[in-house]
């Protein structure tokens, strides 16, 4: 386990930085994301209404030692635009998930840069062996994204997900450290600082 490792003070790219989320980040904008049908389409959080207290409780679930919740913030404005979770198992494998809640940043480089940062953090800082996640078969933009990052499809959970009444599969994708070393060449133009 990685209990003695500390989170770097700076995890930053050209456009965004990652910062462990605190209860002070549980604000209305975050609630708005969870209530937005475009944002929450592939989030389980869509099944209930949320309050600020719910967000605070959720944030407290993350010990920031093996269970991480990072906010994605814009370098220039410090605007909170999304979140990443990284849950590291005793097997040194990390389950990850993300959302970009501010739709103004959809179609920008923010998500790509933030994914680079979280993968760097997972493999270089936490030294995990593998990062994996599950995606609804209907979430084509996310599938496209993680494919570009070198993730390999490892399995199909049949009829595992409901997408507004449609029952669909969940696809499991995984990325090994060596695969990230290769695929990150594609993103070498993105300057990343982790220190």
């Amino acid at each position: 386990m990685n209990m003695i490792l500390k989170i770097p003070k700076e995890i930053r790219s050209d456009t965004v930085y990652l910062k462990p989320l605190t209860i002070s980040d549980a604000k209305q904008h975050y609630l708005n994301w969870l209530a937005d049908h475009e944002v929450n389409r592939f989030l389980d959080s869509r099944f209930k209404d949320h309050s600020i207290e719910d967000l605070q409780k959720y944030i407290r679930n993350f010990d920031q030692k093996n269970r991480f919740l990072f906010g994605v913030f814009v370098n220039t404005s410090h605007c909170h635009i999304g979140n990443f979770t990284l849950d590291i198992s005793p097997h040194n494998v990390a389950y990850f998930g993300y959302l970009i809640g501010e739709k103004n940043y959809w179609g920008t480089s923010a998500a790509t840069e933030a994914i680079c940062l979280i993968l760097d953090f997972a493999f270089k800082v936490m030294k995990v062996r593998k990062v994996w996640g599950g995606i609804s078969k209907n979430n084509l933009p996310a599938i496209f994204n993680i494919h570009r990052f070198g993730f390999k499809r490892e399995g199909v959970l049949r009829d595992h997900y409901t997408d507004h009444g449609e029952i669909t599969d969940t696809l499991q994708y995984g990325l090994l450290k060596d695969e990230w070393v290769i695929s990150q060449e594609r993103f070498k133009k993105i300057k990343r600082v982790i220190k």
Partner: protein, 77 residues
């Protein structure tokens, strides 16, 4: 519609741009995850084809699109 024009319209590029075979996401403005889904939809609509998920994620360059169209019997693009 020619492929070059389809790319220009899908990604709202300047009309005088000539896309080249080696270009892919990251090379052309707008070719991100959402742009890619729009591109796939445009290809399906324009060429009356259907792309499955594996074909969709296999597209990494303009050259890949041309190969895919060729595989589906579309020789004029």
């Amino acid at each position: 519609m020619m492929l070059n024009q389809l790319i220009i319209e899908t990604f709202s590029l300047s009309s005088d741009i000539i896309v080249i075979d080696s270009q892919g996401p990251g090379d052309l403005p707008g070719w991100d995850s959402l742009g890619h889904v729009n591109l796939v939809n445009a290809l399906e609509r324009t060429y009356s084809i259907s792309l499955d998920m594996d074909e969709m994620i296999a597209i990494e360059t303009i050259s890949d699109i041309k190969s895919l169209l060729g595989d589906k019997g579309i020789l004029k693009f």
